[in-house]
Amino acid sequence: MNALYIICGLGIISLLAEIFNFKKALFPIVMVGLVVAIAVAFLDGGNASQAFSNMINFDRVAIVFTMLISITAFSWFWMAKDYFSNNSHLTDRFAIVLFSLVGAIILTSINNMVMLFLGIEILSISMYVLAGSNKKNLFSTEAAFKYFLMGSFATGFLLMGIALIYGATGTFELLKISAFISAHSSDLPSFFYTGVIMVLIGMSFKISAVPFHFWAPDVYDGSPTPVTAFMSTIVKTAAFAALVRLFNGCFAEISSTWLIIFSVIAAITLVLANITAVYQTNVKRMLAYSSVGHAGYLLIAVVSSGNIQGVILYYLFGYSFASLLAFAVITRLEEKNESLTIEKFNGLFSRSPFLTFSMTVALLSLAGIPPLAGFFGKYLLLSLAVGSGHIWLVMIAIATSTIGVYYYFKIILAMYFKKSALSQIDLSQSLKILLVLLLLISIVAGIFPDLFLSLL
């Protein structure tokens, strides 16, 4: 709970920095503030607390997800240092990112439909602005515009769903809704189910699951790379935290309505996203499709039963840090206004062995190769699915992750076995430390998965 206040305060401080002219000190302040937020969330531990007349409920799950989001945000700020330097809109960028984190944390702890709506909107509206933050670049503007149109369209569906559920149950509180469902399980009006489906559609847009994914590759490709990294890690984490709270918590009783829909969505997401990714030549676009594919894997956990939250947390942890690692390398390699094709990775090994090693670990973790975090995430997720009897989903997931290995290895092969005439790449000290840190996290989390699973 206090972590939320701290990050909100940091956002306000960022706005004040412009007026009181301490822009130079802002980056250290934000980093220290995020560390404090992580520490506070950690000290809160298992103490559940409610706030705003029970509209948000900071239970253990929320606290652990808050920690994950704060740690990811910390690494992200470190990675995106250049994004915040030498810019006239520096303080605005800080403020917008921090406020979007507030939205993300609200989403992890929703206890009321109002907070679901507000959390999603705080997060999305900030992301529309950030996607378009490279104002001179037409691609960035186009990405922002597409994201805005699709995002508000999805919000419309979500709101219609919320309104219909309110009409059927007479309340916005998740606990009261689930109590109402168990009390009236046989005579719920038909528009209640319509409402649930509409919420499902709205949330599918936000997690970019097929067939509601078409905005994702364009937006991920067009946005500035650090923003893409933010979208594919923190936004996804928050959206899944909210999704699990809604469907596995509030609508658990009527799982017969949504279970099959989510299973089908998961299956087509896996197949379509992974096959399309094979044909991409632009690395950012390929990672966008891979990110859509990972949403499919995560949906398999949503339709299973057991320690869902623990597995999703661990999977998102492995996925987020592998993505950050890959995006850190991409940010370093990227040149101004040029799309990063796979050819740009040719002979990277001779230009910078360390960068190559980092990218290799990131891609192997995303592909799910042991002993990295991505492998155990997938393993736990699939064993959960087998335990709940979704054998056909597991078969599809295994087949598609084989396709995944193929397109991730295209980059790895280019890096090691192709020749390049370009000169050496110098890495700054801070980037080296960040890469070592992210590598350690990916490897340690892979070797000791129990550390994370015991958190929930």
Binding site: L118, Y128, T141, E142, F145, L149, F153, M160, A163, G170
Partner: protein, 105 residues
């Protein structure tokens, strides 16, 4: 018979469903960005109407408060959206969404 102000609740549901559908179809079929904005607003206002009708039916202020939240957030959303639209117009001199085809498969 469920009624609000003497009118059956069903009529409210059908009216807002119709408005919502018009909004959705508008977003899907129109090419002009401003019209698409208006259609998104229409979707949100259909939701507002429905919420107010239900709130009145249940004699519950929560639904009406939610409408204020939606109105405030929609205003913020449009502010951001129009800013992006102006940026778009500065870059391409057009507000037709056909120009949004540089990013493709």
């Amino acid at each position: 018979m469920k009624t609000v102000q003497g009118i059956s609740l069903d009529y409210y549901i059908w009216l807002s469903a119709a408005l919502f559908t018009i909004g959705v179809l508008g977003v899907l079929y129109r090419r002009n960005s401003i019209i698409i904005f208006m259609c998104i607003e229409l979707m949100l206002n259909a939701v507002n109407l429905l919420l107010v009708a239900f709130a009145s039916y249940y004699q519950d202020p929560q639904g009406q408060v939610f409408v204020f939240f939606i109105m405030a957030v929609a205003a913020a959303e449009v502010a951001v959206g129009l800013a992006i639209l102006v940026l778009m117009h500065m870059n391409t001199k057009s507000i037709d969404i056909k120009v949004l085809n540089r990013l493709k498969w």
